[in-house]
Symmetry: D2
């Protein structure tokens, strides 16, 4: 835990033997911090012209984190969330046909379990989504088209890697 901070001379630590042993357990049993470089992880296609850049597939909790990018204005069909979804807007404008607001750069959105809505993205929109649990995509008559969860997104990504000859980035599964 020696700090590389050039702005301070580090004084002697007051950590006890007990503290240090517990910090050793963090190393032994804990998870390390993870840094995902946006340039290194490429885009892969989804549906309706949408592109996905994966950030994290946390299969133990069922959480998917990725950037959704619409090179052209497009829609993502009516769907229902079974868990909490959050969104950070990186570029462009997007929203849902069911709501009046239009999200632009910096806007933050929380979608709660049980809600049903239809996503639209303007040309060039990029949104970082964190999806907990599964999403049900519905047909226009409200019948179920398909359910997607973290493994569905993993499948899209792994298939793309296999087809394009890119290696699967194992750091995404953490």
């Amino acid at each position: 835990m020696t700090m590389a901070n050039p702005q301070s001379k580090t004084p002697a630590s007051v950590l006890t033997e007990d503290d240090l042993r517990e910090l050793g357990l963090v190393k032994q049993y804990g998870a390390t911090d993870v840094y995902i470089n946006a340039e290194e992880v490429g885009w892969h296609p989804w549906v309706n012209g949408l592109m996905i850049k994966p950030y994290r597939y946390e299969t133990k909790n069922g959480q998917s984190v990725f950037v959704l990018w619409a090179p052209q204005a497009t829609v993502l069909g009516k769907h229902r969330h079974w868990g909490v979804v959050t969104a950070v807007t990186l570029e462009g404008d997007w929203g849902y046909f069911e709501y009046d607001w239009v999200a632009r750069q910096g806007a933050y959105v929380v979608e709660n379990p049980g809600t049903i809505h239809t996503l639209r993205m303007g040309e060039g929109a990029k949104v970082a989504f964190t999806v907990n649990g599964s999403i049900e995509y519905l047909n226009d008559d409200d019948s179920l088209r398909v359910t997607m969860d973290v493994f569905s997104f993993v499948d899209l990504y792994v298939k793309h890697c296999q087809e394009s000859g890119r290696p699967v980035d194992e750091r995404l599964f953490y």
Copy 2:
């Protein structure tokens, strides 16, 4: 659930009376989707010249979501997380003295429970952080300086509102 989607004529729904009753319970007992406009929620100062724009203070789970902005290059002291922290990089560059990587626009970072590190942000850096649980800030000798949790961030925000005459935006507590 009538859709305003202009691109499709909506066919008759196949939802049954049971489905509709359950959707009514979503309205009655569920939480609605929330949209936070980045322009409407202002910045308030924190420490070392850092500015905070709140996105969400989820007091039931102990989660804080906010953008951290460094108008000038600065540091945030050595600290330890007791829960998972995730970060989406909006602008500029940032990182930790303890790690080699430099996060730039689009980079995603996950910080796990138990880890200790010292944040540095380059001039103009903006990062959207989701903080679960509390954070312990440490002095240079590793003794505890202060613990912050969601209520500490609420306190910073509410105090700033009171001092500056801005109304507290109650939509942030959801």
Copy 3:
């Protein structure tokens, strides 16, 4: 925060004005502790002779907590979890046809996203389940029979209350 603890004379508190203001925010914006008396919340029927006693329907996160009781030995069809499920065994024996273990009083089970299994409960078994996200029940040919989430369990409970003339216990939705 005066303590009723008879074993200690409480000395003067060292809490500062800042601490007290922040504790006031816990009262104002936080959630209170909740106690659910097992006797007060009754049982209601589900399927295959299984009975449910609700503990909590956390609709904001999509979490359902309830005791499942099998007055007679029974099965719950093959299903797939889309989130984490945990189980504390209160009485009797239970397990899954797909696994060798038999859970008895005190046994703890964690079921992870994506797993598929078929529950069997011995006569008199009582298990406290915490279910995150939705559950897909499958027919014998692995086609989807029905998806249940927190609102499905709320629906079962509310319908039972209406049919039996019991008031809906609003404390369960927290």
Copy 4:
């Protein structure tokens, strides 16, 4: 996915090649279900005569699950939660000096972030606690005595194993 269920002849599965590939990803990247036998995991001492039986130390999320047992009536000092804590009462009676209720077999309790209270357990009480994030134990004058998180509980357990010659049960870290 052949089922051992003796009560049904399994018909041909309708799962497609796509479904089967995705289920393969659950095996490859997902976590398996975990069964913890209450008899196999022993008790170890904590403070004030309290005994702990570990169920799960989820270090990636900072969650600790264990049974707390009071062979003799006792108290656990005033403390503050920084995350959600839930409790299923297995035996005996327990509560907090700050609240009127007394929890008995089957009672369920949810403790929310920011709350402060002092635990008392009657002779023989056993409670299964799920603790998210850290807990701050306070002295009588409300100053901080010690902060405990999942790694503190791991430390207690590992130390006990080393002192008593029992092997560390690695299945608890999942």
